[in-house]
Symmetry: C2
Subunit: 474 residues, 2 copies
C-alpha cells in the first residue's frame, strides 16, 4: 500500500514526511532531477493538510535536498546526493534524452496522465464509456470459459489457433477471404503498427497518411526512423505519390471506415481507387479497420476484400468495441509478412495474453459479440444525437461539423483558429480534457475531436458548457 | 476453419487443391517466394493422401506457378504472378530483409515452430509443464474475480494500481522497499528489456552480460543498435569494465539467481560486489529475477535490496511460476525511469491485458500464489532428481553437470564439442527438441540447456535415450 504517516509515532507527522522523502531519495526511487508529486497529491496520499506537506518540503529545501523551479514544481536538487550520501548515481536524465524512442507529445502525456483521475471530464477519449462496456456479461463469461493447460502456456507465434480460425470466419463479413495461417494475433492495433515499423520497412522509408491522422498522435514509425508524409485523397493522388515516393520504400496508412479523428468513411468506389493507385505504384496499404463495427449503417467491404496482390495489411481489434483492457487485435497479411511479424512479436513479448485470447474467442464464437454490437450501435447513436443537439443549440455560430455516421467522434471545426495549447490547458484547469486537432495535424488550430462515447451524458453536457465558457472568456 | 476439399464437388480432389492454391496465390496470401507447407502438412490439413497433394503440386509446377528448390521445399515461383494475373505485387522479401529488426536465429525459429507440435519431446523448454500449471485453480479463480468497468478499460500508463500495490508488498520478501509509483507492469520480462533498449540507451551503447547468457538468444538490444559484450565475474571485473566502457553509455544485465541457462546463483557477497563495482563505474544494472521463487532453498535478497543509488532496474514476472500465458511481469526502478518506460509502453501497446492483471492481483493477494509456489518447488525438486538419476546412469562418462539448486535447468556439459547445429537437427528428426548452448554463447559447442520442467517424466526419459543414441551414432 502507499505509505501514510503513523499517527501513533513518537515523531510528528511533518518529521515522518521528511524522513519518508529522504528515504526515497536515498534509495534512488527519486533520483536527481525527479519532479515530486504536487503538494495537493501528496496531501491526498498522506491524508494530511497541504500546509503540513508544505512545511516538510520547506525543511527539505532548506537542507538543500529539494529545490523549487518557478512555475514547474518541486524537484530533487542536484546536490541532494552529495548532501545525503556523498556518492554518485547514474544520470538517468541523460540516458532518457539520448535514447532511441521519441517521447509522447506533451499534450498526449497530459492526456494519458489526467485520464487516470475520476474527477476529469473526458470530452475526447477514444474509448467506450464504463456504462457501455459489457462488464457484467464479461464477468459472467469468465465463469463459462474452460481452460486447458496448453492454452495458458506460451501461445504459438501467430497466436491461439482457435481464435485465428474464428477470426477467419468473422472477417468474411468484411468480404475478406483468408486462412488462419495469414492471421497474427497482436496486443491491439497499435502493436501491429509497431511490428510493421520494425519488421517491414528500412530506415528512411516513407509512410503516407491522411491529413489529419491518428498516426500523428503516436510514434511507431517516427521512432523507427521513417518519414511521415500527409497526402490528400484527390484526383492527383497517383501523380502526387509517384513524385514523393521516388525510389524509396513506402506504405500508405489509412483508416477508410470511420476515420480517426474525422469520422469520415470512404465509399466502395473510393476504396477501389485508392487500392488501384497504390497497386500501380506498388505501395503497400495498412488498412486500420478497428471502427467498422460501429458504423450505424451496414459497413461496405474492406479494401482488403479487393486485394489480389498481397498488398493490403489489414488490422482489426476489439479495443473499440468490446474492451480495450483485453488488448487483442489482429493483422491479416500475406504468409511471409505474417511469419516475419510473428517472429518479431516472439522477440518482443512472446505473444498476447492467453486469457484475453480465450475471452475474445468465446465472445465471437458464441455470438455474444454480435449481439453486444447491435446494442452498442444503438447506444452510440443516441449519444451522438445528444451531443449534436447541444452543438446545434450552442456552437452553431462558431463552429461546423458533420453528422456522425457511427463510431465515437465528431470532428468539430471552429471558424477561428482557437484550438491551441493554451485552450487545452485552460480547459484542463476546469477539469475538462479535450483531444485538440493539433495532435493529429500539428498545423491545425481549428478542430477538436469530440468523443460522445466516453463521458456520461451529464459529463458531456457539463464539459461542453465549460468549453463554451472558456472559449467565450478568451 | 481451415479449408478442406469438398468430396461432393463435381471437381476432383486434385482439381480442388489446384484451385485452392491458385486462389491463395491470386489473393496474395502466398506472395512470390513464399515457401509452401510441406506435402505432409498439406495432406494432414486436407485429409487426403500425400500422393494427391503431390499430383496437385506437380500440375502447378508444370504451369509455372510453383517451383521446387532442392532440399528446401516448394515455393511460389517468380513468374507465378505474370502467369496468373499479369500484374505486379510488392516485394515483401526485400521489405523484410532491409528492415530494422533482426530475425530470430534459425535455431530459435525452429524451436518456436516445433514447440507447437504435440508429438515433439521438448528437452529444453524453459516453461512449466502443462502438468505443473495450476490450470484448474486458475479456471476456478476466474469465477471469483469481480470486474468493474474501469478495470477493463485502458489501464493507466504504469498498470493496474491495485496490482502495483500488491507487488509493492510482495517484493518486501526480496528485501526491496519501494512504492507503487516505482513499479511498471509489463507483458513479461522480455518486454521490459525491449522498453529499456528503446527508452534508456543511445545507439551504440554497451550491454555487458554474463557468458553464456539468455540475452544472446533474444535481440531487444541488438536490434536497437547496442553492442553486446560478455564478461566473466572475477576479481578483475572492475578494471575490465572500466577499460571496455570508456565513455560509452552502458548497462550490466544479470540473472543473479538461478541464472539462465546455467542455473547458478550468486551469494549475497557476490551480489554486493557486483553492485559496488557497477556503482563505482556508474553502470546501471538490470537484475532479471524471474526465477527466484523456484530456488529449492530460501532465496537470499535481491541486488535491488542493496540499491541506494537508483542504479538497479529490477525485473520480476509470473511467467516461470504461474502461467506464461498471462504475460505479466514488472519493472521496479527510479521514478523518472518508470515514467519514461511507461510513456513508451503507452506508445507500443497501450498497456498489458487488464484481465491478466486482475488474475495476478487475485493470486498474489489471496495467498493462492504462495501456496502454489510451495507445491511447485516440491514438484520441480522431484523432476530434477529424476533427470539427475538418468544423467548419472547414462551420461556420466561423457558429460558433467552441477546438481540443480532450483528452477528449470541443468547446464549439461559434454566433454567433447559435439553440440552443434547438426546435432540439433538430427535430434529434431527424432522429434526431440533441445536448447543447444550455442544459442546462449555462439562459441559454445559443449553444452545443452536441459530443462526438467516441461516434458513428462516419460518424455524426459525417452528424450534423453534418443539424445544418447544420436550422440552414439554420430
Amino acid at each position: 500500500m502507499k505509505w501514510v504517516p503513523n499517527r501513533k509515532s513518537h515523531l510528528t507527522i511533518q518529521e515522518q514526511i521528511v524522513e519518508w522523502i529522504k528515504a526515497r531519495i536515498e534509495r534512488g526511487d527519486w533520483t536527481v532531477g525527479t519532479k515530486l508529486p504536487t503538494q495537493r497529491q501528496l496531501a491526498t496520499q498522506f491524508h494530511v493538510n497541504r500546509s503540513t506537506v508544505q512545511l516538510a518540503l520547506d525543511e527539505l529545501k532548506a537542507d538543500g535536498l529539494l529545490e523549487s523551479k518557478m512555475g514547474s514544481g518541486v524537484f530533487v536538487a542536484n546536490h541532494s546526493w552529495n548532501v545525503l550520501l556523498n556518492r554518485s548515481q547514474p544520470n538517468w536524465k541523460q540516458h532518457i534524452e539520448s535514447s532511441i524512442y521519441k517521447p509522447n507529445y506533451h499534450t498526449i502525456q497530459l492526456i494519458n496522465e489526467y485520464e487516470q483521475y475520476d474527477h476529469i471530464i473526458r470530452l475526447g477519449t477514444g474509448e467506450l464509456s464504463p456504462e457501455l462496456l459489457p462488464t457484467d456479461q464479461i464477468e459472467q463469461s469468465l465463469k463459462e470459459i474452460s481452460l486447458d493447460a496448453k492454452s495458458i502456456g506460451y501461445s504459438p507465434p501467430k497466436g491461439n489457433e482457435r481464435l485465428r480460425n474464428i477470426i477467419c470466419e468473422y472477417v468474411k463479413k468484411r468480404g475478406i477471404q483468408t486462412e488462419p495461417e495469414n492471421i497474427l494475433i497482436v496486443s491491439g492495433a497499435l502493436q501491429a503498427l509497431q511490428l510493421i515499423a520494425m519488421g517491414l520497412l528500412e530506415e528512411g522509408s516513407i509512410v503516407f497518411h491522411e491529413q489529419p491522422s491518428y498516426l500523428s498522435s503516436v510514434h511507431p514509425f517516427q521512432s523507427a526512423g521513417m518519414r511521415m508524409i500527409s497526402v490528400t485523397r484527390n484526383a492527383n493522388l497517383s501523380d502526387h505519390l509517384r513524385v514523393l515516393k521516388r525510389k524509396r520504400q513506402s506504405l500508405f496508412y489509412t483508416v477508410p471506415t470511420l476515420h480517426n479523428p474525422t469520422g469520415d468513411s470512404l465509399s466502395v468506389k473510393e476504396k477501389e481507387q485508392l487500392y488501384h493507385v497504390c497497386n500501380e505504384l506498388q505501395i503497400p496499404i495498412i488498412e486500420d479497420d478497428v471502427y467498422h463495427e460501429l458504423l450505424f449503417e451496414t459497413a461496405p467491404p474492406a479494401i482488403k476484400s479487393f486485394d489480389t496482390s498481397g498488398q493490403v495489411l489489414y488490422i482489426g481489434s476489439v479495443s473499440k468495441t468490446l474492451s480495450p483492457g483485453l488488448r487483442i487485435g489482429w493483422v491479416i497479411a500475406p504468409s511471409p509478412v505474417i511469419a516475419r511479424l510473428a517472429d518479431i512479436k516472439m522477440q518482443t513479448d512472446y505473444g498476447s495474453s492467453a486469457f484475453s485470447q480465450e475471452i475474445v474467442a468465446h465472445w465471437i464464437s458464441t455470438g455474444l459479440y454480435e449481439k453486444h454490437l447491435t446494442n452498442l450501435r444503438e447506444q452510440l447513436k443516441k449519444r451522438a444525437a445528444f451531443v449534436e443537439r447541444i452543438l446545434e443549440q450552442q456552437f452553431s455560430k462558431m463552429a461546423t461539423w458533420k453528422r456522425s455516421e457511427g463510431g465515437f467522434y465528431i470532428w468539430l471545426r471552429f471558424n477561428q483558429p482557437i484550438v491551441n495549447k493554451s485552450l487545452f490547458l485552460n480547459l484542463l484547469k476546469q477539469n475538462v480534457l479535450i483531444n485538440p486537432g493539433y495532435i493529429y495535424d500539428s498545423s491545425d488550430l481549428h478542430h477538436i475531436r469530440l468523443s460522445y462515447a466516453y463521458a456520461s451524458l451529464e459529463g458531456l453536457k457539463l464539459g461542453l458548457d465549460r468549453l463554451l465558457k472558456v472559449i467565450g472568456s478568451s
